[in-house]
């Protein structure tokens, strides 16, 4: 850890200046029992729900159960030093985390304390972890796109700014890869990203952070990490803490993207806390309010209108809408989406991206099942050019699936059917994309146009991706102006379309692939 001495002295000086020695009346209680991070306290008659409770040794807890004679609190962090008979105090504060641009590029824990060894965060503001989502009046419909840079998602399940799009699939199907690719693609898109890792291995989190750093994505990303070894309380709190950090940008007329990886682990952590607090278990032993922990979290991802932003910033930011886009991740067991937590989150979100093991193993990566992946609001936000060109993809894949099952039994097929099968096979191939290689809008448009117009028809399926890569590099070197125009206007007029077609013909005539 690097700290300059002047910095420390300054810090201490300001703290000493602000330190007041006035005696304040505080409510005190006695610890009755400590069991697996849950502390029962006698007294504390004035404790608020969700209030921070101070234990000896600068440890804090969160009051979750307020009962007639006792308070049930969950300790955030180590609890080994707390013993029966210890006195604890009410702090009068609801849990807060630091917020603001100072957090960008940092890795923090669920309480906002830095864990990346880069010194203190120095955030100027803090904000409450649990907040109520903006109401109906404050909202605006989703109309701007989030470019994920993945062909299959941007063309088939587009995500808009302020949307909640669920990423769901079994273990090892590339859920995190989709989320991380999306973060990487936000470079230069005026988007602040927050990656919340819940209950993951510390090594996995370190890998994600390294990949984000390698791809220059930490310049606009905050990582909130509650690793598998952290207490259940921290794993439960991490999504709310990350959400509060994202809301800072939303409320100030900026755009933010938050990834909760994954909410299944959060539900499990909450189940542990609830059972230890002796709350009655329900289905799959989850407590009765497990739906509410996710719904209140995901409601906070929203697009807010100009009036809300203006009012919030007291007129400093005018005429700008803010948004917080959420990409929650849910892990299913053996593809069972009818388990408790997956069904809950599916019903809360505005659509879902299904990732399947079979597709993943067949080499189709990202392993998106086009049939059951949907986006309920993203269509209104899709980029014009992608909307125009990508409309056929879903249809071609749907027809292909239907025919492919049928064609297995038929020996010879008529010309039209064979053509449709070939086309479906080609689209399936073209939807494949390497990890950490998001595509720009112009590249994506180029691929889709070429596929739609049949320029891929005489390319062998196995060579399709090589052809695509060669085409992209050819276009960027020879027709740079045209590509830049598509990138900036995000549209493809009639003349431009002809120009692009001519360019593709030029490529096919003069280049090997």
């Amino acid at each position: 850890m690097q700290l300059s001495t002047s910095e420390i002295s300054e810090l201490i000086k300001s703290r000493l200046e602000n330190f007041s020695t006035s005696a304040e009346a505080r409510t005190q209680g006695t610890v009755i029992s400590v069991t697996d991070g849950i502390v029962r306290i006698h007294g504390l008659s004035n404790a608020m729900a969700g209030e921070m409770i101070e234990f000896p040794g600068n440890t804090f807890g969160l009051a979750l159960n307020l009962e007639r004679d006792s308070v049930g609190a969950v300790v955030m962090g180590d609890y080994e030093h707390i013993t029966e008979g210890d006195t604890c105090k009410c702090t009068g504060r609801i849990l807060e985390v630091p917020v603001g641009p100072e957090l960008i590029g940092r890795v923090v824990n669920a309480l906002g304390q830095p864990i990346d060894g880069k010194g203190p965060v120095n955030a100027k503001m803090t904000d409450k972890v649990e907040k109520v989502a903006p109401g109906v009046i404050a909202r605006k419909s989703v109309s701007q796109p989030v470019q994920t840079g993945l062909k299959s998602i941007d063309s088939m399940v587009p995500v808009g700014r302020g949307q909640r799009e669920l990423i769901i699939g079994d273990r090892q199907t590339g859920k995190t890869a989709v989320a991380v690719d999306t973060i990487i693609n936000q470079k230069g898109q005026n988007m602040t990203c927050i990656y919340v890792a819940i209950g993951q291995k510390a090594s996995t989190i370190a890998n994600v952070v390294r990949k984000l750093e390698e791809n220059g994505a930490m310049a606009y990303t905050i990582v909130v990490a509650a690793a598998a070894s952290d207490s259940a309380a921290l794993q439960f709190l991490a999504p709310y803490a990350g959400c509060t950090m994202g809301e800072y940008f939303r409320d100030r007329g900026e755009d933010a993207l938050i990834v909760y990886d994954d909410l299944t682990k959060q539900a499990i952590a909450y189940r542990q806390i609830s059972l230890l607090l002796r709350r009655p278990p329900g289905r799959e032993a989850y407590p009765g309010d497990v739906f509410y922990i996710h719904s209140r979290l995901l409601e906070r991802a929203a697009r807010v209108n100009e009036d809300y932003v203006e009012k919030f910033t007291k007129g400093k930011v005018k005429g700008k809408t803010g948004s917080l886009t959420a990409l929650p991740v849910i892990e299913t067991a053996a593809g069972d989406v009818s388990a408790f937590v997956p069904t809950n989150v599916i019903s809360i979100t505005d659509g879902q991206i299904f990732l399947e093991t079979d597709l993943f193993n067949a080499g189709i990566r990202p392993a998106i099942n086009a049939g059951i992946s949907v986006s309920r609001v993203g269509g209104a936000a899709q980029t014009k050019v992608i909307k125009k060109l990508g409309g056929g993809v879903r249809l071609a894949l749907a027809q292909y699936r239907e025919l492919a099952a049928f064609a297995q039994f038929a020996s010879d097929l008529d010309e039209a059917t064979r053509k449709q099968l070939d086309r479906g096979r080609m689209f399936t191939e073209l939807m494949k994309q390497a990890q950490y290689a998001p595509l720009s809008i112009s590249d994506m448009a180029l691929t889709l146009l070429a596929a739609n117009k049949g320029y891929f028809d005489d390319v062998p399926v196995a060579r399709a991706l090589a052809f695509e890569a060669a085409l992209h590099s050819f276009m960027h070197s020879k027709y740079k102006n045209l590509m830049d125009k598509i990138e900036t206007t995000k549209d493809l007029g009639g003349d431009d379309e002809k120009a692009v077609e001519a360019a593709i013909q030029d490529f096919k005539a003069n280049n090997a692939y």
Partner: protein
């Protein structure tokens, strides 16, 4: 402790209401105090905790020890506690009863801890200020504890007013740690 108070409260509240209705609060207070002292006696405690002692014998023994100190209602209270197997909680019942009584009389118990023994006039002035702050009569007990280094610490129920040097040093330590 919290579990005991949950069990004990109904007994204490019932006794308190009956006493208030019949205007026998001091008598009840006395009875419960005495019975609690009996229940706390080591020999009696051994009998109460002994599972081999039949409820009827325990009742007779306990009442014979208390002799004339209990009136009819008091005896019934003991019988009831024996019947429900809660006789061991009698001291807590007495304590809860006293708390209810103090609350009813508008009394608050304050425990004042100081590093050096304060003078009577100081305590009086302090009690007066506390009474105006809480709007209730304060019954103060003074304790001397050099551990707190300096200043005073007042505990009233759940509320703690910590103006001790030790507490302030602790605050400073937390503030510096951030």
């Amino acid at each position: 402790m919290a579990d005991a108070i949950t069990i004990v409260r109904p007994y204490a509240v019932a006794a308190f209401r009956l006493a208030k209705e019949k205007k026998t609060l001091p008598k009840w207070s006395e009875m419960l105090d005495f019975a609690a002292a009996v229940a706390l006696d080591p020999q009696m405690k051994a009998v109460i905790d002994n599972p081999k002692v039949v409820a009827g014998d325990l009742e007779r023994l306990f009442l014979s020890v208390c002799e004339k100190k209990l009136d009819k209602a008091g005896e019934n209270m003991v019988k009831l506690l024996v019947e429900y197997g809660r006789l061991a909680l009698l001291p807590e019942v007495a304590q809860a009863f006293e708390e209810l009584k103090a609350q009813d009389e508008g009394m608050l118990e304050a425990e004042i801890t100081a590093a050096v023994k304060p003078s009577d006039s100081e305590v009086k002035a302090l009690v007066k200020r506390l009474e105006s702050k809480f709007g209730k009569k304060i019954e103060a007990s003074v304790k001397v504890d050099p551990e707190i280094i300096g200043g005073i610490k007042i505990v009233i129920g759940d509320t703690v007013i910590d103006a001790s040097v030790r507490g302030q040093l602790q605050e400073l330590a937390y503030a510096l740690k951030g």
